[in-house]
């Protein structure tokens, strides 16, 4: 009788372990998906900020038509990009365009004193940071998920239920890995 109880107890523990591990795998995968969509949210936010930015500076930067046009074009390309490869390419181009635009802004002290521009600059800085952090968060989630999938004993459960390790978000352009801090004081 006691043996039967012990066996039942062990079986119960194993079942609980399986349920617990499966649930945490699902939770981790969902969190990774959530982080991925967060990246898109921030990228879209950047797209929306740029027209506003260009409007604000147009009056001051009369002679910088070239830079403004490059920025507008980069933005349009980023909005229109479809496939994942196209998107990441377009976003890189846009980041570079914004960087060059900000370097040009340094030459206009009037602009730097404009309250509207300062607010927009803070928003842009913040959006760049948020894009970086959302990518970072996605990578962290993927790391946690992959660890759980690959390590013992949860890899057994992962194998049974066909959980696949996800891939990290990597920037195409290696120099972009050192994301510059956007700070213009």
């Amino acid at each position: 009788m006691a043996v039967v109880l012990i066996i039942l107890g062990v079986v119960a523990v194993i079942i609980l372990f399986i349920i617990g591990t499966y649930n945490s795998l699902i939770a981790l995968r969902n969190q990774a998906g959530n982080s991925w969509s967060q990246i898109d949210v921030q990228l879209k936010r950047r797209h929306d900020l740029i027209p506003n930015l260009i409007e604000t500076v147009k009056g001051y930067m009369q002679h910088e038509k070239g830079t403004l046009e490059t920025l507008t074009r980069a933005r349009t390309q980023a909005v229109d990009a479809q496939s994942v490869a196209q998107k990441s390419q377009a976003e890189n181009t846009l980041s570079n365009a914004i960087g060059r635009f900000m370097a040009v802004v340094e030459n206009y002290p009037d602009l730097k004193a404009n309250q509207n521009f300062l607010a927009l600059q803070e928003e842009l800085t913040s959006t760049e940071n948020k894009i970086a952090f959302s990518r970072q968060s996605y990578n962290d989630q993927v790391l946690a998920l992959n660890n759980k999938i690959n390590m013992f004993p949860s890899n057994v459960i992962a194998g049974v239920f066909h959980f696949k390790p996800e891939s990290f978000f990597e920037l195409e352009d290696k120099s972009q890995k050192e994301l510059p801090k956007v700070n213009f004081s």
Binding site: Q42, T125, S126, N129, Q136, S137, K181, N183, S185
Partner: protein
């Protein structure tokens, strides 16, 4: 990161049980000395009841109490967009579901704390002194540290520990003060045999010793846990920002300020980023301090040269303090996480004291819903919400401006 949270939950359960046992024991001792052999049950019951009431209060309204005691006011995105953005960035990095509420306290001492038993319902408060002194990176480091407290369930843990400690202190305090008189009288009127009397005397002695020791032990335990939690929050914070130098220079700036915080006490102190009590004596008594020494924290952060993950923090911690395990082994599995490289920025212009005061004043006014008007002559006029006269006259150029708070405005527009 998850391993830390799991470990935290396990530790809190163990502590819960240990301190609960302490509490029950205390109740048992006191019950016996008060009521004799049968009184043990009543002692335990009373101790349990006290603890339960305190827990309910602490659990359900702890953060509200803390916020109102600190005179913190909630702010929205419009009032301080930079702070709001920084908190939002950290929320994304920590993958939180809900945005924490942000509060500002009007204090010139730089400090910050976080409350919230669940990440979905958290709040972060900073002082105006902190906002005026730190730049964006440093502020981000501080916010990341505070958020880590919430994410690692430190607040949950420390709240319960604090309540346990409070219950033990309360019960032993009451016993030590009032118990002696009633045990004397109960012994006189009780008709028990001599062995019973001796037994009770022994129990009384044990109970007294226990009542004196228990709060001391509990307090030491509480402070040790609190110090560990601070290091852990530092580690988690820099893992979020990937920039240890930010938090390090923020701590430096905070420690060099000598102003003391007004609304803090020994129990709420662990929730602040830096020990709000600044007497030099507190710094040397390592065991009874709620925070680790700031110098050590800065040293550890600056020793993290190349990576910002837990392994790097652990090795820096060992090399600075000489102690081994801070972070549970399960959390050291991560890959190396690189530190963010920062392009050297032009040195910031230090703000003059007048500019700082003006910024703080404007922030306070915005929080209290002042209206900001700019006259044609360039003067900025700040109108309090309870000023309802229909017109405002500029003190510099005598120009008349409309008062947005005036009640007569709507009446005049209705007239045909």
């Amino acid at each position: 990161m998850w391993e830390l949270i799991e470990r935290n939950k396990q530790k809190s359960l163990t502590l819960f049980i240990a301190m609960g046992a302490c509490l029950i024991l205390l109740g048992y001792m006191i019950g016996i000395t008060f009521f004799g052999e049968g009184g043990a049950f009543y002692g335990i019951l009373t101790a349990g009841a006290i603890w339960l009431v305190l827990s309910m209060v602490g659990y359900f309204s702890g953060d509200q109490i803390l916020l109102s005691v600190s005179h913190a006011q909630e702010i929205s995105r419009d009032i301080h967009p930079q702070l709001f953005n920084i908190v939002e960035e950290m929320k994304i990095a920590a993958n939180l579901n809900a945005m924490p509420k942000i509060y500002v306290m009007d204090e010139s001492a730089p400090n910050a704390f976080a409350t919230g038993r669940k990440p979905e319902r958290s709040a972060i408060a900073v002082t105006t002194g902190l906002l005026s002194r730190l730049n964006r990176d440093e502020l981000q480091g501080v916010i990341a540290h505070e958020m880590s407290h919430v994410v690692n369930r430190d607040v949950f843990f420390m709240t319960f520990s604090g309540i346990m400690l409070g219950s033990i202190v309360l019960i032993s305090d009451v016993f030590l003060r009032g118990g002696r008189y009633s045990t004397g009288s109960s012994r006189r009127y009780r008709s028990s045999e001599s062995e019973g009397n001796n037994g009770q005397a022994v129990f009384l002695l044990i109970a007294l010793v226990f009542a004196i020791l228990a709060p001391l032990l509990a307090r030491l335990l509480y402070f040790a846990i609190s110090r560990n939690r601070e290091y852990l929050a530092d580690a988690s914070g820099v893992r979020l920002t990937r920039y240890p130098e930010g938090l390090a220079s923020a701590l430096e700036k905070i420690s060099s300020s000598n102003v003391e915080l007004n609304f803090a006490n020994q129990v709420t102190a662990p929730l602040y980023i830096v020990n709000p009590f600044r007497e030099p004596a507190e710094r040397f008594i390592g065991l009874t301090s709620t925070h680790p020494p700031i110098e050590k924290r800065i040293q550890i952060l600056r020793a993290m040269m190349h990576s910002a993950d837990y392994k790097s923090y652990q090795s820096a911690y060992s090399s600075v303090t000489g102690k081994a395990s801070l972070i549970p082994a399960a959390a050291l599995n991560d890959e190396t996480v690189p530190v963010k490289k920062v392009i050297s920025e032009p040195p910031e212009k230090p703000k003059s004291a007048k500019e700082q005061m003006r910024e703080i004043g404007d922030l306070n006014r915005a929080v209290n819903r002042f209206a900001f008007l700019t006259c044609v002559c360039g003067l900025k006029i700040k109108v309090p919400p309870d000023f309802t006269k229909s017109n405002i006259v500029c003190p510099r150029c005598w120009n008349r401006l409309e008062n947005p708070f005036s009640k007569t405005q709507s009446k005049t527009t209705l007239n045909p």
